[in-house]
Assembly symmetry: C2
Amino acid sequence: MIKRSKQKETILRVLRSTSSHPGADWVYDQVRREIPNVSLATIYRNLRLLKEAGYIQQADSSSEHGRFDGNTGAHYHLRCEKCGRIFDLNEPIRRSIEARVARRTGFKVTGHRLEVTGLCPECQ
Amino acid sequence: MIKRSKQKETILRVLRSTSSHPGADWVYDQVRREIPNVSLATIYRNLRLLKEAGYIQQADSSSEHGRFDGNTGAHYHLRCEKCGRIFDLNEPIRRSIEARVARRTGFKVTGHRLEVTGLCPECQ
DNA sequence: TTATTTGCAAATCATTTGCCCGAAG
DNA sequence: CTTCGGGCAAATGATTTGCAAATAA
């Protein structure tokens, strides 16, 4: 961690205390119990810093905004982390994982999404 | 499609003409070439309607906002489409797909993300 | 006709930024 | 000391919504 601070430490501890993959507002509420006057901006700032430093991850597919796909068939995606372009993959769809997860978790599984990330030939 | 309109048809055609997984603004620009006074609001409205009706998909992990994860180890996620909660899966990580994709696409692959979606026991 | 859809502008929502002050190294 | 982090409020950017007029069924 570049520079420690009470707020960074609290954010990290709060985030490690749960497996609920919370959003910034939930973290804000929790941190406020210890540091009542933290700013929401500080939460956002530090979540980003902690992520960039590798202390935490983001559970959802990057911070990308809505990207639409006219192809309704099941297929996986390949995303370039530099230019942001998304390509279709023609890997076979692995349905077996859905049944296994359904059996082990009690979920009624409706599908799955796989995204491979990296650098495209032009961006390398 | 519940009720057809020139704008819905144009949006669908534009989206099916590319595999670039564009965002709403790109679709807007394209549609404007045929219907110069479309509103961006119409684009958003119809993208949502078309998605709900199953005519198109969203390439990114739903429209979820930032969700953070204090667990930095590689792991997959299970998301409930109703309540939005995200759970960790302890499925084995399949690194083999990364090498295969790298070989076939020329990408420098840095990782992959797998998310299984469905309804959690409480939401079913 | 009658229910939907559109375009417009204003409203939201999550997230970011500018600025000045206080804290860390 | 001097740089970096924090709090606040204002700014931003994407997406949504309210509403009267236009359009599809």
